[in-house]
Symmetry: C2
Subunit: 335 residues, 2 copies
């Protein structure tokens, strides 16, 4: 069973090869009757254009690269959500997604770009000083970054507005009358790496808190139960009047709740808790947590949308910040 080529379709439909191509691509006007006849032949023969040939002739592979970090300290479920939305959106634009890990480094990017394997790139978890960033500027292929490097000039970046997310948490707690609040963040290693979003959340939180005249502190937080316990305990010792807690660490959310239970702090009676995490984690907790959603699906969608626009030659805004959304559940109350 030799695979069906465009020539087979052309013969079957009684037209020229180029006509079939134009019917399929719509790049030239074709009469309705011819078009129908061709489409019928396509279906009858089960024709699927050969991706390699198409790429070779058109200089477009219709594949984009998705570069995921896959390192310690990442929020895996969020990542997955994100990847899903990238794939789904890409398919809507008739593109497929090549999955790459960051550990091939800049060479990996160069390889797929230079070999014309992909038309464009979406990179996740970009670091403040990322060795891949200078390369991206050189590349012919357009790219979109999730997150912001220190120097974002000449690049297209998308991200949740983490500073706003931190600020929104502080605002919410302020509006409830809390005066002393804290944020528990990512593990230390994430800050060391300079990933950016963690810092920005902290800054937004602290600034907003101070603007409200509150005492607002931000601590990193490891992810094991025992360490979370120790951190929460230390935090309470240093700030006995603490009544509002923001947790920006998906893996630690459950542990923080457990720790508060162990330390005899009821939620929300003694301590209001806001989480920055996906909705399902917040809903699954007990009590269900007031949370700021990380709109992973939206970020992925926007990233692909921007990339497609660039592929078509449009100019796009260099920075796209997605507005965080607070959902009030049962873990926060008036103080």
């Amino acid at each position: 069973m030799r695979t069906v080529t465009i020539a087979d379709v052309a013969k079957h439909a009684g037209v020229a090869v180029s006509t079939v191509s134009y019917v399929l691509s719509g790049k030239r006007a074709i009469s309705a009757t011819t078009s129908q006849r061709v489409m019928q032949s396509v279906r009858a023969l089960g024709y699927h254009p050969n991706a390699g040939a198409r790429a070779l002739a058109s200089k477009r592979s219709n594949v984009i690269a998705l570069v995921l970090p896959l390192r310690a300290g990442m929020h895996l479920p969020v990542l997955m959500q994100f990847a899903t939305s990238v794939v789904t959106t890409a398919r809507q634009f008739d593109h497929d997604v090549l999955l790459m890990t960051a550990d091939e480094g800049p060479d990996g990017l160069r390889r797929v770009a230079a070999s014309a394997l992909v038309d464009g790139l979406v990179l996740m978890d970009v670091e403040i000083h990322d060795p891949r960033v200078p390369l991206l500027r050189e590349l012919e292929e357009p790219s979109v970054l999730i997150g912001f490097p220190a120097d974002a000039s000449g690049l297209t970046c998308v991200d949740l507005d983490f500073a706003r997310a931190g600020a929104i948490c502080a605002d919410h707690l302020a509006s409830l009358g809390h005066r002393e609040i804290a944020l528990l963040g990512a593990p230390n290693v994430v800050y060391k790496r300079g990933t950016g979003y963690a810092e920005r959340t902290m800054e937004g939180f602290v600034e907003a808190g101070q603007a409200h005249g509150m005492t607002a502190v931000a601590w990193p937080c490891e992810e094991s139960f025992d360490e979370v316990c120790a951190t929460v305990k230390a935090l309470l010792e240093e700030h006995p009047a603490l009544s509002g807690l923001v947790v920006h660490n998906e893996a630690a959310v459950g542990h923080v709740l457990g720790a508060l239970r162990v330390l005899g702090k009821r939620v929300p009676e003694d301590m209001s808790v806001v989480a920055i995490c996906p909705d399902d984690v917040a809903e699954r907790a007990s009590p269900p947590l007031t949370s700021v959603l990380i709109p992973a699906a939206d970020v992925g969608h926007q990233a692909v949308r921007l990339l497609m626009a660039k592929l078509e030659g449009s100019t796009v805004p260099p920075a796209t910040l997605l507005e965080p959304r607070l959902t009030i559940r049962q873990s926060t109350r008036k103080h």
Copy 2:
């Protein structure tokens, strides 16, 4: 800056195009001096073969498809680990990975296969009665499945030996002198879907338990804290003498521990707990849990290895079961 082609390299090195090709592929003997000269030119010009042209001429894209489920009830982190190992292993074989979600269904597979976009497929989370399975048999492209459909004839499947995993847990608890044990499994929806691994774990657990003359029961378990609490409570009411608990639900592991704490059961003094989950989750818990590792990385590695073997025309075993490994930590003790 036009992209460098093999003709440029040939001219630069003063040889024929075909000679360059043979140097690069090693498919014919080339003298050391010529070979070196060519490689120098390759480096000097920064040559990267065009993937489309290569695929067209050689009928090999050097890309494999990875089909992930991305549905409710999956253990996301495990999935991610798995994906990583697939990508890494594929790269070792000089292949890239195309990421697909299951929601395009069989058509998606047909599309990438018929378009010669990929040379082979790795499918995850195969269901007992999976609509994609019959299609796989028809496809020219080889494939490897993670998990076992009801009818695995003509297919190549890899998986953790979940029945053994369940059994090992029961064995371990038996050896510690426990007489009444239970397994908390996946949410009900997973069983309804007929994913296979969940059932097999339960069966292995129950059979081994009975073989030891123990009372062994298996319950499904939802993933919210409150529902976990209710389930554990109901379980203890029905089996007051219960002293060993196996949790095969990554998302619920933390909640089960919390629930036991709430119900006044100490671990391991009053209740031995074994988890079937990745090591990091077990280590992060308090106390660190005795656990059976799901060797996601290994499964991914094996899957790719088998696929590559099939691509080279070797025949491979139809079923590969990976042996689970019990790591004893601090959550189990003599009864």
